[in-house]
Amino acid sequence: MTMENKVRIMVVDDEEIVRASLSAWLEEDGYHVEAVESGRKALSLLHGKKWDLMLVDLKMPGMDGLQLMEEVHKILPEMLVIIMTAHATVDTAVKAMKKGAYDYFVKPFNPDEISMTIRKIVDHRKLVQENLFLRKELKKQFRLRDMISKNEKMLEIFELARTVAKSGSTVLIQGESGTGKELLARAIHDESPRADAPFISVSCASLTESLLESELFGHEKGAFTGAAVLKRGKLELAQDGTLFLDEIGDISLKLQMDLLRVLEQREFRRVGGSELISISSRIIAATNRDLAAAIEEGKFRADLYYRLNVISIRIPPLRERKEDVPLLVDHFIEKFNIEMGKEIRGVSETAMRILVDHDWPGNARELRNVIERAMVVAKGNVVTEPDVSLPSSASGPDQRGKSLEEIEKAHIRLVLGENQWNIVRSAQALGIDRVTLYNKIKKFGLKKEGPPPKE
């Protein structure tokens, strides 16, 4: 067993001779042992170091063994504590076990008894570690860079993304807010031969038309008032890399036109400039809008849409892949443990049920925020029900509305989605006939989401 792998045992006993002899005996068995004389010292040793087992004397001046065990379990609920005592009574033994002791030894104990108990603990610990390792290995299969999923559709997307990454094709990513469109774009970039070149992200919705124009194309010195120096645009900065245009559905018709020209001719001019600059970056665009509908409404150019939509990826919302909630919860906990320096081991069963049942209008991003907050307020090393704070379903970002009609519309859309737009099954689930359902679909202008038909 290497030093790092050594099982670490803490002995707490007020008698020096007990500490010395027990430590020596355990050390001969290859364990790392530290012995202290009081509960207070034991608690101070608990921080910063990992312990596998505590052997605690029941009768000690000040804090006794059971009090110490209670304090320890407040910080580390899973710590294995063996209570040792010279004055055995059935009462104290029962009390110790009830309070969560792993075992109860009467001093002096049989060497075989303690050897076997510790061996059992060590074997159990090995199994736990092995299990953790295997789970991590398994997780790798469900990963694409920072994205993680068990959902069949998502795994297909991961596969597609890996294939697409090798090419230079333009990609259009669609999906609700918080589903991870930028993460997917980054993953495609990281998996591509362009990984060493920059990944430049532009949020198109956050800028006014003229600002976005200069942000994308850059400008020459003196191109307009305030343009004191030459500025390179994101298109130029992303040379050989990837340019990610987020919320592409929000750009003006004029910019759509400019962008279309860039995509067609693979070159552009800085604002106020005459020099033609060719582009070598791959474009990935994303939107949470229904672009097909925007085209119908005349808000989005069909030709730009088809230019962008060479490869189309639609990320399903979290409510359509509930099996990912526990996986994502573990993933975020692991991530925030590192960031916050915490040792949260997971969420309680009740808390997990609440998380799985939630609708997640804000998708994985909302889940991440909820976990982050829960980990900040969690008192022990397990996130429990009170730590999880969820907005009531009507106040999420994708509000279903409050009028009866809005609720009806949202509910019909939900049921249709659940039944893959199978009208017969949806009508059955809603308890109405097919004609009524058709009428309601028409009335509410509901449309099947997904990749629009190719030209």
Binding site: A20, S21, L22, W25, E28, P108, F109, N110, D112
Partner: protein
């Protein structure tokens, strides 16, 4: 320590010299330290005996092995076959529980000598810095009962032997 059969000691000295490839000398008997007696348990504290022994290590000795007929214990264990300073100088072995008579059986001298040899090598092994070996064929494997002693190997395994050889080599140079 205290009264021990000279024949056993003589045999043991030859066995240790042979197995460890070292010069082994028998010291005159020293009394079992009176402070080590645990009246309530009618046993002797091996930890206290070890402490006393450390003051008796001759200048030219690399290791000191105490052999006693007294039943040994440490405060938290009902008994021990012996105790050693891990990576230190001294070790002590009790012969009391290695005899078949202790368990109400007929005396069996060859078995007793075999157990004595194993436990002495085992405790000395600890003074060479060895911890319990996973291999049941190795004399350094953990033995809490005489059954464990009887079923484990009589010598060091390859890895443990290598540590012992390098340590005894160092002892000779010093």
């Amino acid at each position: 320590m205290g009264e021990v059969d000279p024949g056993t000691l003589h045999w043991l000295r030859n066995e240790m010299a042979d197995c460890l490839q070292a010069t082994v000398r028998t010291m005159p008997s020293m009394p079992v330290p009176p402070g080590s007696f645990e009246a309530r348990r009618n046993q002797y504290s091996s930890t206290r005996i070890l402490k006393e022994m450390l003051g008796e290590v001759p200048q030219d000795a690399f290791k000191l092995l105490g052999v006693t007929d007294m039943d040994l214990c440490i405060p938290i264990l009902t008994y021990v076959f012996g105790e050693a300073q891990l990576g230190g100088t001294a070790a002590v072995v009790s012969l009391a529980r290695l005899r078949q008579e202790f368990y109400g059986a007929a005396p069996d001298r060859p078995l007793f000598l075999s157990r004595t040899r194993k436990e002495c090598l085992h405790e000395l092994g600890h003074t060479f810095g060895l911890i319990h070996c996973k291999s049941r064929d190795c004399v350094m494997s953990l033995s809490n009962t005489v059954v464990d002693v009887d079923t484990k190997g009589r010598d060091f395994c390859g890895q443990c032997r290598a540590v012992v050889s390098s340590e005894t080599g160092r002892g000779r140079r010093e």
